[in-house]
Amino acid sequence: MGNEGTYPYLLLLWLLPLAGAIVNWAFGPQLKRAAGPLGSAFVGVSFIATVLMWGAATQGVPGGAIGAHQSLFSWIPGFDFGLLMDPLSLLWTLIITGVGFLIHVYSIGYMDGDKAFARFFAYLNFFVFAMLTLVLSDNFVGLLVGWGLVGLASYFLIGFWFFKPSAVAAARKAFVINVAGDVGIMFAIFMIFASVHSIAYGDAFAFTSYPSGWLFAICLCLFIGAAAKSAQIPLHTWLPDAMEGPTPVSALIHAATMVTAGVYLVARCAPLWSHDANAQLLVGTIGALTALVGAILGCGQWDIKRILAYSTMSQIGYMIMGVGVGAYEGGVAHFFTHAFFKAQLFLGSGIIIHALNNEQDVRRMGGLRAKLPFAFWAMLTGVVAISGIPFLGAGFFSKDLIIQGALEHGHPIMYAVGIVTAGITAYYMCRMLFITFLGNYRGNVDPSELGIRHPELAGTPAHEEDDAHESHGRAPAWLMNVPVAILMVPTVLIGWLMFGGENSPWAHFFAQTFPHETMAAPAPVSEMFTAVIVFVCVIIGIAVAWMRYGAAPAAENAVERLRVESVRMPAVLTNAFYFDAALDWIFVRASQLLGTLFGRFLDPQVIDGAVRETVFSAQWLGTLVRSFQTGLMRTYAFLIAIGATIFMIYYALAAGGVK
């Protein structure tokens, strides 16, 4: 796949962020504030290199399809490594470097004045490198390497403020769950290697004679990885906690790029999935479920970043559903649009949080429209896009593709779920928007009146804010606004790429990428119809949100209403359907119990005790022998006599024997 060759641009765009990371890590203290621009520059150049690479990849490929492959080195026979640039990886690379660059620039402003300014950019660059490794690798092990490295980067960035116990815990949780995912991919690799004797995508996909059941097993294991990385049920619990990290991190890693790696993986392995209906069904179902659950949970959150986190989870659920059921273009398209608008939403919320000194609880906001008009418009466009209001935002097009695709591939239930979820999405996004920007500012209201029971659970506790940021606002505001402004453009417009069905530029771009299985039956309803239904649901959602939070009466006594809602919030929502508790009991507590049993009892008492006993028994034997040593001569004489007697008996008998 792809034509072999040496592509300097490829290596350049791949390794530049690494160089940036190393430079920032090694010379951080010397660089001081220059670290930010430097780090951004590395990624920016990498983006340019990507664009150039795009051109280079199209050269000399029949049909202008993109495909470039460069082999690097090999560990042992069968474990050969290389880089692959095809439409899929190109798309991801563009997002990673492009959106990544913008977020870098944003971070210069956002992280300005932080003690570990340079370290932050080192991590950020390192993440970009890791993500590029993930998407550019031409084999599963390379993918796994990238997979693990992005996990590490996210670990570092979530726990960036490592003096916060909550951040540390969140980071560890995220990492461990992701390692569980890695393990899944590892096992898939075992099965692939055992049957194909190679780890390259090409061989694995070209190979047809997998043992019966293995294909499903492989897909399942791969999807475990995907689910862990993309926060799919039930491995999603790390994502909301991951919001402990700085907001740009959430924007880049936990919205735009890393969490969509699962989508990439499934899309990349489309040939495998398209051969196994069960796997498709599984993935699609999980995706749909995640979308729904994420959306529902999104309705019950007060922390602005957690709301966005659950929405991310839900949106990725969409994507997974799309690629799962076989609507690969749709899923990938939603990743594409989502990258823009979700990044924008996060960055917008970042502006708010930044302005309110790390206040993240929407209940203590309100009426910010006047204070932060730019943020308002940024959020507004984002919400419009994510809610999928026809033709006004990118989200509409991609989401529509997925929902329609689900139906086309014969999954009506997922279809329904998709539509309902779209409505809920509109509801909770608008809820966030209205609570935040309409009404009056509630930041000066006493938390208890707002029903905030545990302020420390929401956002950064006030007392640690000094550790994080010595001073705000030294960096010019445009540093944060410009990237958001730039992002607005694709947020609004990019969806048109997907307009036009078969002959849209999007479909053309992916013409040779994905397998096209023939539909069992043409979709019962037309795409237009779907769009209408979705639109209706969305409108309902928005209306409800407006009535509850936006309308004048609601805005009047917002404090009281919010308090009531907080207090009345069903436990199921506040505890996020008890996923956390379940995982904790099933895995964490269980293994700790076993560990205690082994370490505190079995080791010292049983095993070691046995050995000690043998040693003591030797000593006991010693005392036995020495007990003959009474010191009395006559005892010794007696011993001799006994011995002699025994000798005599033996020899007398022996003599009798020989006679």
Partner: protein, 478 residues
């Protein structure tokens, strides 16, 4: 039958004669020399005499002719010379440690007794008939009875008494057995014990049994071992050093000569089975006996019990290889023991603090080199590489396995495992770090003791990497 004695006969016994005469010279020198130097004069003369004897002995070994002197009473050969040399080594080693023993006015006599007992042991090494065996043994033992009592401690006298009575009892068994053997064979010559008719003679069997009882006592094999720990502990350090090697070496020489050359063909396995069994018991009992001992000499007594068991394991089956390996291990054992005693003597005062293991605690701080050497010798006894003890054990193992006595080899392995633990306890004491251990520490360090310790160290190492087992050592009786 009459024998006419020629010079050849006398030169055959030259080494032990030289030793015996040296004793007289020592006594004379003591009478003539002034009081303040006689101690060292005695030591120097004794060492010179022993060295000369050693050279003569080595010469005999090189010329290597086998010769039955005095009508077969003493049989010169590679066998006798090798054992004689080992005994001489023991004598040299212990004379070197004698610096601080006893009272001045009895010193020369002590040395003389040691030399005579040496000559007795050498006589046993070459003994060709029952009389010389008996006389050699008695000469060795009688002198040792006296030597044990040579210290100013009640323990010494007690050990002398115990040794005297028990050993005499054993000698009585031995000599009674000899009587029966004489009755069975009608001759006192070991050569006539090969008479096949004896294989079916009950007197012969019973006589051999009592003879072996005496031998087993001298080898301190369980259950005839009980005297050894007490006697070793009570006797003065150099005497113990000598006893622990010379007695065993000489007795082993007699036993080996009987096993290899003085039995009717074909009954060896059956006749000697009890010896192998007690050897096996000794390997285990000796090693477990070492646990929780508080005196070095006592510890070495127990270890000696086990070591003799190892050596017998090599002799089991009576293969020529076995004898060579046994001699190799005996030599290794000699050096290990003498080395350990030399180190103990280094740190001993007039009351032999150096043998009380309590005084070894934290020794690595006070005398690092001595501690290191002691560690080395103990590890050698335990049979850890890279020491001759290690190689010797492997040789013995091979011998016993090849001779069809694998079970002895297995017992050896078990015993070694136990002994490791026992020796390690001493080492542990030496390397314990408790500064507040108030031990009565005498800083007497005899230069000769140092010298012999170093020599033993060198030999134990050298024997490991140049393992030479003399080849022309098969014993003869005629």
């Amino acid at each position: 039958m009459t024998v006419n004695v020629t010079n050849a006969d006398w030169s055959a016994v030259a080494p032990l004669a030289i030793v015996a005469v040296t004793a007289l010279v020592v006594l004379l020198a003591d009478l003539l020399s002034p009081k303040n130097v006689n101690r060292y004069a005695a030591i120097v003369i004794a060492l010179l005499g022993l060295l000369v004897a050693g050279f003569v002995d080595y010469g005999q070994f090189r010329t290597g002719g086998d010769y039955a002197a005095f009508g077969g009473a003493f049989i010169l050969g590679g066998f006798s010379t090798v054992f004689e040399s080992i005994i001489l080594l023991a004598a040299i080693g212990s004379v070197a440690l004698m610096g601080a023993i006893g009272r001045d006015d009895r010193f020369a006599g002590t040395i003389a007794l040691l030399l005579w007992s040496t000559s007795g042991a050498m006589l046993m090494a070459g003994a060709g008939n029952l009389m010389t065996v008996f006389l050699g043994l008695e000469l060795l033992s009688l002198a040792l009875y006296c030597l044990c009592g040579m210290a100013e401690r009640p323990a010494a006298r007690e050990s002398a008494l115990k040794y005297l009575i028990l050993s005499s009892m054993a000698s009585a068994f031995l000599v009674y057995g000899m009587g029966l053997l004489f009755g069975a064979s009608g001759s006192v010559a070991l050569a006539d014990l090969t008479n096949p008719a004896l294989a079916s003679s009950p007197i012969f069997w019973v006589g051999a049994g009592m003879f072996l009882v005496g031998i087993a006592f001298k080898l301190s094999l369980v259950p005839f071992h009980a005297w050894a720990p007490d006697v070793y502990e009570g006797a003065p350090l150099p005497v113990t050093a000598f006893m622990s090697v010379a007695t065993k070496a000489a007795t082993l020489a007699v036993l080996a000569r009987v096993i290899y050359a003085a039995l009717p063909a074909g009954i060896g396995d059956k006749l000697l089975l009890p010896i192998w069994i007690v050897a096996a018991i000794s390997m285990i009992a000796g090693n477990v006996g070492m646990l929780a001992q508080h005196d070095l000499k006592r510890l070495i007594a127990y270890s000696g019990i086990a070591q003799v068991g190892y050596i017998l394991a090599a002799l089991a089956g009576g293969t020529p290889m076995g004898l060579r390996y046994a001699i190799y291990y005996l030599a290794a054992y000699t050096f290990m023991n003498l080395g350990a005693f030399a180190v103990a003597a280094m740190i001993s005062g007039d009351r032999e603090e150096g043998t009380r293991l309590a005084n070894y605690r934290g020794m690595s701080r006070r005398h690092p080199v001595a501690a290191a050497m002691m560690t080395f010798f103990l590890l050698a006894m335990a049979g850890l590489p890279p020491t001759a003890g290690f190689l010797g054990k492997i040789l013995i193992l091979s011998a016993s396995v090849n001779a069809g006595y694998a079970w002895l080899g297995i017992v050896l392995i078990v015993g070694t495992a136990i002994s490791l633990y026992a020796y390690a306890k001493v080492i542990r004491a030496m390397y314990q770090r408790d500064e507040h251990a108030h031990v009565s520490e005498a800083h007497v360090s005899v230069p000769l003791a140092w010298a012999s310790a170093v020599v033993c160290f060198v030999f134990v190492i050298a024997m490991t990497f140049y393992p030479h087992t003399p080849s022309n050592i098969l014993p003869l009786v005629k």
